[in-house]
């Protein structure tokens, strides 16, 4: 099926890991999907559940939270807190009739520029096929 649908994807990237990873990818001139909109936060623990709901209300196809690997958060436990909120938000989204696959959390370190590209390219593609899949 031909897809003309372009997803709007909001990514909250932790300054210390995935944002640095994204920077690295950018520095190496690696292309990544232009419809992945990056918001830099100081830690994934800064991502208030309100931010996620607000993004969906405003029409985001997907929301992606990228954090440091477990145990590696710059502020020790920010990413674990974010993970707890993420799991709980998914359960709420199901009840609110939003496909839980539209909320994604991944752990990407500063050195994983390649992986950053892979993850978000795949995520954007997945979200687009989700949206165009026959109901």
């Amino acid at each position: 099926m031909s897809t003309t649908f372009e997803a709007k994807v909001v990514g909250f990237l932790c300054n210390w890991c995935s944002y640095a990873g994204a920077d690295k990818a950018g520095g190496a001139q690696k292309p990544y999907p232009h419809n992945f909109k990056i918001i830099r936060v100081m830690c994934s623990g800064r991502v208030e559940p309100e931010f996620v709901l607000e993004a969906f209300r405003k029409g985001a196809t997907g929301v992606v939270i990228l954090a440091c690997h477990p145990g590696d958060c710059h502020y020790k436990t920010g990413n674990v807190i974010a993970a707890g909120r993420f799991r709980l938000l998914k359960k709420l989204l199901i009840q609110l009739g939003i496909d839980e696959k539209r909320l994604i959390m991944e752990y990407i370190s500063a050195s994983e520029g390649e992986r950053f590209i892979e993850v978000i390219t795949k995520t954007v593609r997945d979200l687009e096929s989700l949206e165009t899949a026959p109901a």
Partner: protein, 330 residues
């Protein structure tokens, strides 16, 4: 007829508890009566909608509007009373943020009647009869109010001057709000939330708090809480932490967890999101260094497992007023 300023109290989609709360002003209700003429209140006095229609615009000094907007009749009354009132107060949780009626927003509109009229085990309805807006019968046509697709708050359908939360608002808070309206230094700014405190229920709760580390949650029947420690510290899902101050901490005072009836705290849009934020930060997940994603998320899901009906618990009173307002597609 009396020339005291006219006031009204009207119930839209509500249970009537707000009227009880008003009567619970006890002898102060006499002061209200001395100062005002309670012109319209279907629960207590016998004037009709046509009497409201006959008033000049703005002839009602104050209207306390309780109940959510569920039907087209609720909507019409909200607009009529807005027109006829100088001050329109969203009175109680249903009018302020949707309350129990708004839990209907978790169900697609087409299925809304099913649990009662079709699926209920003790219901036999072979002819598939459900309430209709208009029915033709031999004697003519009959109408009942139309159910709208989505439950909305009063503030979502018309301009509201003040918001008085609570399910129902505590009588001393109602009094405080009324007193503020007629205070010599002028009423609070329009759009204010009145009859509340600045913080959360925890600020009024007398239980001792420690650093929260929750391994699992308990439902109220699974545990006998001790009388002194914070209920949330004990693993009981107390919404006080994500609920506006105002009630005096009534429920935790008697060993019951707060269920959130005063809505989200000041400056916050979404009570469920607040509770999600709080719970995410108090789970005890042990050592996580080197843990894979699957394992970490597994531990979290296990800790959350005992919570029943997430949306129904976190948005029991505030779904219509929340960021998403209910299901994405109704």
């Amino acid at each position: 007829m009396s020339d005291k300023p006219k006031i009204a109290m009207y119930w839209a989609s509500s249970c009537g508890g707000c009227e009880i709360a008003l009567v619970n002003l006890h002898e102060k209700i006499l002061d209200v009566d001395a100062a005002f003429n309670l012109f319209f209140c279907p629960c207590l006095v016998d004037t009709k909608t046509k009497d409201i229609e006959a008033l000049a615009d703005g002839e009602l000094a104050i209207t306390f509007f309780n109940g959510a907007i569920r039907t087209d009749e609720n909507l019409e009354m909200a607009r009529l009373l807005r027109k006829k009132s100088q001050i329109l107060i969203a009175f109680g949780s249903c009018a302020v943020e949707g309350c129990i009626p708004a839990l209907g927003n978790l169900v697609p509109a087409a299925k809304y009647f099913d649990p009662i009229y079709r699926d209920n085990l003790t219901t036999a309805n072979p002819d598939n009869i459900i309430p209709l807006n208009k029915s033709e019968i031999a004697e003519g046509s009959l109408g009942i109010p139309l159910f709208l697709k989505k439950v909305r708050t009063l503030g979502q359908v018309t301009e509201v001057d003040y918001f008085l939360p609570g399910c129902p608002p505590e009588p001393h808070r109602i009094w405080q709000a009324v007193a503020a309206l007629i205070a010599p230094d002028g009423p609070p700014p329009k759009g204010s939330v009145v009859g509340v405190g600045p913080s959360t229920v925890c600020a009024e709760c007398r239980r001792e708090r420690t650093d929260k580390k929750i391994r699992r949650f308990f439902r109220t029947y699974e545990i006998i809480p001790n009388q002194t420690e914070c209920l949330l510290d004990q693993g009981i899902l107390c919404m006080g932490i994500a609920t506006r101050e105002g009630c005096g901490g009534l429920c935790p005072e008697v060993n019951m967890p707060c269920t959130g009836c005063y809505g989200p705290p000041a400056g916050r849009l979404d009570q469920g999101a607040r509770m999600t934020a709080a719970i995410g930060s108090i789970l005890d997940l042990g050592e996580v260094k080197g843990l894979g994603e699957k394992e970490l998320h597994g531990r979290i899901d296990q800790a959350l497992g005992a919570i029943p009906d997430y949306a129904g618990t976190f948005y029991k009173y505030s779904l219509a007023g929340s960021i998403l307002g209910g299901r994405e597609k109704l």
